[in-house]
Amino acid sequence: MNTNIIEINSLNKWYGEFHALKNINLKVKEGEIIVICGPSGSGKSTLIRCINFLEKFQEGSIIVDGITLNDDVNNIRHIRTEVSMVFQHFNLFPHLSIIDNLTLAPIWVHGKSKQESKNKVLRLLDRVGIKDQAKKYPNQLSSGQQQRVAIARALCTSPKVILFDEPTSALDPEMISEVLDVMIGLAKEGVTMLCVTHEMGFAKKVANRVIFMDKGQIIEENKPKDFFNNPESRRLQLFLDQILSR
């Protein structure tokens, strides 16, 4: 629990003239669970999308597992094999069956054999509770099931870090808990997780640190207990009032 798996140093990003990320510094230790929250447009998704280079940044550096992220294609691919991502809208591939969705990366990126990856994938699907749906297509599943498949897909390459980009925001309300349960299970197994989410229950239960962002900046960062009970900044107090009074 001592090495930093991710180091973000004075990261700055602009969309044209708009300053989207302002001087972000963040160190994540191996096995840490970090929850990032904040109002919409605060740059939290942008931040985690910079880590696997879905977004380019102009200044600063990101080091993942000792490798400094740069423009080089091989470098980016290497980092993406160690960092996987779960999206708000699942982004499963609709033309492939669930099992083909999951074996894609093991076969094509990691060069595993078909049979080997299939066995592993079936174990993962069992773990997220949808083994019997393996032959179906994504659109035949409910939104909650689809997101659980997406989590299994993120796991199937045994990544060191998983990024979650608002994984429960596009779900029907009754499906949220089944996805959160899977995430909580994961958190207890020691995978490093960075979650952009507004599920404060999840944060309280498993997060090591909670980060509050606003207007492209990290405003406050604390252990969950202090974060929720003694928010220091006025901005965070307001945000928590709004979100917890629901």
């Binding site: 294609v73 999206f87 033309h95 990126v109």
Partner: protein, 365 residues
């Protein structure tokens, strides 16, 4: 506070089965529509009997000469006598079995590929068939070791129409895919060249490209070098068609949500894997109706081959109308072409709807 009992589902009322209410809803819902319905019926009454009498009831189907045919109805005897010419052009009659086998092979290969749906080596066998089929077909049609050579100027009729349209659409497909990807590329030179090519080709009629292929292309050849006329036409048609296919596929590519690209990227797939495994399969499925549409357009455009001296089905008919024995029977010839074209093209367009439905089950976004 109140709690309600759960209700059992009832059968839906089904008014559509009643003919009268169907008529009222669809044909006579109000005064204007009723008037239009009556007008349409009157037009049908004017046209259909005349056409039906000419085509069927007053027509001659027996193998008789022009004079024995009545003048009231159509003389299909003419079509029957010339049928071989319409289908095969000037291909030697004693070896009609060769183009016939090309067709039989095509159908049986499709059938084999269908049977293999669940087979372990399905993809490998299908790819093998796709590669060997054109080679066998060319050998059968043109000839080679052991088979008499039939020069391409003898090819003609419906056979030529089908060959040109099929080769045109299949050869232009990979080029079209590359052009579509090129037009979306982030590299400015590739994008620029693709745009220039596509917009240039789309900006000129097919006929000019055929002229170019048959007149201008030979100017680039060294003395004594010659290129088959049909091959030149095929190159021209492929160049033309690939620009249209490219635009159709670009439409499909644009319909793929950005999340698909991001998910593929986030997994670590490289560019080619992303395109081949994720993006193209989805884009092509969306494009099926439009690809078929442009194939249909191409099929009809093959009639322009007459201009450069190749005889497709329409030009074969046109040619036989000057036969002294059958003077005055050109209407029958052109109606025949119309009917043949319609049957083929309608079947294709119907099949594309079947394909669309089949794939839509896994694509409900």
């Amino acid at each position: 506070m109140a709690v309600f009992k759960q209700q059992t589902p009832k059968k839906a009322p089904n008014p559509e089965t009643k003919i009268v209410s169907w008529l009222r809803e669809n044909l006579f819902p109000n005064a204007t529509n009723s008037a239009l319905t009556l007008l349409a019926l009157y037009v049908i009454y004017l046209i259909v009997p005349v056409v039906a009498n000419w085509m069927l009831f007053d027509a001659t189907f027996a193998p008789v000469s022009n004079e024995q045919c009545g003048i009231k109805g159509a003389c299909w005897s003419y079509i029957f006598e010339k049928l071989d010419l319409f289908i095969y052009g000037f291909y030697p009659p004693e070896i009609y079995w060769r183009p016939q086998w090309v067709l039989i092979l095509a159908l049986s290969f499709v059938w084999i590929a269908k049977l293999l749906k669940q087979h372990k080596y399905k993809t490998k066998i299908t790819i093998t068939l796709i590669i060997i089929y054109p080679i066998i077909s060319f050998f059968l049609l043109y000839g080679g070791p052991g088979l008499e050579i039939v020069e391409t100027y003898k090819w003609g009729g419906l056979m030529l129409t089908i060959i040109v349209a099929t080769v045109g659409v299949i050869a232009s497909f990979p080029i079209g895919v590359l052009l579509a990807l090129g037009r979306q590329s982030k590299m400015p030179i590739i994008r620029f060249l693709s745009i220039i090519y596509i917009e240039f080709i789309r900006g000129v009629p097919l006929i000019t490209i055929l002229f170019m292929a048959s007149v201008i292309l030979p100017l680039f050849f060294k003395e004594g070098m010659d290129m088959d006329k049909l091959l030149r036409a095929l190159i021209g048609i492929t160049m033309f068609q690939s620009a249209y296919i490219a635009e159709v596929i670009r439409g499909g590519l644009q319909a793929i949500p950005r999340g698909q690209y991001e998910a593929a990227d986030a997994m670590g797939l490289n560019f080619i894997q992303k395109i081949v495994l994720i993006i193209l399969p989805q884009a092509l499925k969306i494009s099926i109706p439009n690809i078929v549409g442009s194939f249909i357009a191409l099929f009809k455009d093959t009639t322009l081959l007459l201009i450069i001296g190749l005889f497709d089905i329409l030009s074969m008919v046109h040619l036989t109308t000057s036969d002294e024995k059958w003077l005055g029977r050109s209407t029958e010839g052109y109606v025949f072409v119309m009917v043949v074209m319609w049957i083929i093209l309608y079947s294709i367009s119907h099949y594309s709807k079947v394909l669309e439905l089949r794939y839509s089950t896994e694509h409900k976004n």
